[in-house]
C-alpha cells in the first residue's frame, strides 16, 4: 500500500493531506515531510487523515515524534478526519489525551 503526502503552507498554517496507509513501509516518507514542519517555530500543523484507512504502530510513532518536535519549537499539531479504526488506535494508546484529535472534520478534504 502507498502513501501520498501533500503539504500546503499558508504562512504559519501547514496543511498536510495524507492519502493511503501509514505503516512500516510508508512511515519514513511521512517522517521526512512532517518532522521538518514540526521543527519550524510557531507553526500550526493540521494533518488531514480523511483519506487514511490504516495506521500501524510505526505510523503512530511518527506522530509522537512530530508532537515532541512541535512542543520543542512552540508549534501545534492537530489531526483531523480520522476514521473509526484510526481513532481507536489513538484512544487505546492514550495519545488522544496529549494530542489534538478532531475526527468530526471528516468532510473537509
Amino acid at each position: 500500500m502507498n502513501l501520498q503526502v501533500d503539504v500546503r503552507e499558508e504562512e504559519q498554517e501547514k496543511h498536510v493531506l495524507l492519502n493511503g496507509e501509514v505503516d512500516v513501509y510508508t512511515a519514513s516518507l511521512l517522517k521526512e515531510k512532517l518532522i521538518p514542519l514540526a521543527e519550524k517555530p510557531n507553526a500550526a500543523i493540521i494533518v488531514n487523515l480523511s483519506n487514511v484507512n490504516y495506521i500501524d504502530s510505526t505510523g503512530v510513532g511518527i506522530f509522537i515524534g512530530a508532537l515532541k518536535a512541535s512542543d520543542k519549537s512552540n508549534s501545534s499539531l492537530k489531526l483531523i478526519g480520522a476514521n473509526a479504526r484510526v481513532k481507536r488506535l489513538f484512544e487505546i494508546t492514550g495519545l488522544d489525551e496529549v494530542m489534538d484529535i478532531d475526527s468530526d472534520q471528516r468532510e473537509e478534504v
Binding site: T58, V60, I64, K68, E91, G94, L95
Partner: protein
Amino acid sequence: MYQLYKEMLTNYLRNKSEHTLYSAQQFSKEMMVKDLSPEEMVSLHISVFKEIVEDLPEEVIDSFDLLLEVMIGYGLAHREHLSLRDRQRQLESELNVAARMQQSLLPSKELKVDEVDFGVTSVPAGKMSGDYYHYIVDEQGHIGVAVADVIGKGIPAAMCMSMIKYAMDSIPEQRLQPAALLENLNRVVERNIDSDMFITMVYGSYDPKSHRFYFASAGHEPGFFYEAATNTFHDLKTKGIVLGVSPKVQYHESSLKLEPGDFVVLLSDGVTETRVNGEFIERKDVSQLIGKYKHLPAQLMAEQVFRELERMQDFQLKDDFTLLILRRNV
C-alpha cells in the same frame, strides 16, 4: 581440469552426444565450487579449442577475445554474489545468536502455583521479537504478569525489548504494583528511547488470597476478562498513555475479582491485528476463538488459539504474537 575439458570438447566435436552435454553440466558445477570465474572459463575454452583444431580462422579467435571482455562483467557480478552470500551467512548466524540471547530474557521456569492455571505463547513474525512477556511470583505470593509490545518488529524492536527486561529487573520486588511499576518503567523508557519509538505494556498482579486481579495499561491493546458464571468475555478496559512519550505520567489502576473458572487474557496487537484475506478480524472473533478452547488447560488454550490464527493467515505471521492466560483454579 585442462585435460578433462579437452576430452569433453574433443568428444563433443566428434559425436555431439547428449552424454557429453551432461558431463559439461557436471563440469560447470565443479568449476563453480572451485571459484573459476566466467572469463577464466572462456579463456580455458580458447586454449583447448586452439589445440584441438589447427588453423582456426582468425575471426573465430578474435571473436573469443571479445567474448572474454564481455564475460569479465559477468565475473564481477559472480564474485559479488559470492561475497554477499558469505556475508548473508554470517549475518544469519549472528541473528541466530541474538535470537537465542533474546529467548534467555524471557522467564525460563514454568509458573506452577496451585491457585492458578497459567499459560503463555509468544511467537515472533521474524527471527526476533518486539513482544515481551513476563511472569513472576513476588515476595507476598502475588502473581505478576506482563505483556509489552515494542513499536515495529525485528531487530530494532528486539533491542528495545531488552531495555524493558532490565528496567523491570531493577525495580525492587516490593514495588510490583501495576500503576507504580508502569510509572517507573515510563521514566526509564522516556529517557532512553528515540523520539518516534514507544512501547505499550499491560501489567497485572493477582492476589491469590483476595482473588483480586489488579492491572494497569500503558496504551496496550486491551485484554479480555472471561466470566465463567455468565459465560461472557469482557474487555479489560483501562486507559493510559504508551511508555516513552512524556516523562511524568500517572497510570490508572483497575481491579476485578476472579471467581473459580474466571480467567484474564493479556495479548499483543499481533493477535487482534490478524488480517484474513486483507480484512482485519474483529476482537469478538478473537474472544470467540478463545472461548472455543476454554475447556483446555491455559497453556494448551493459548497454543490452540495461536495455531488457529496462524492457519487463518496461511502461516505467514505479519506481526509478533503473544497471548497470556491466567485462570483462577480454586
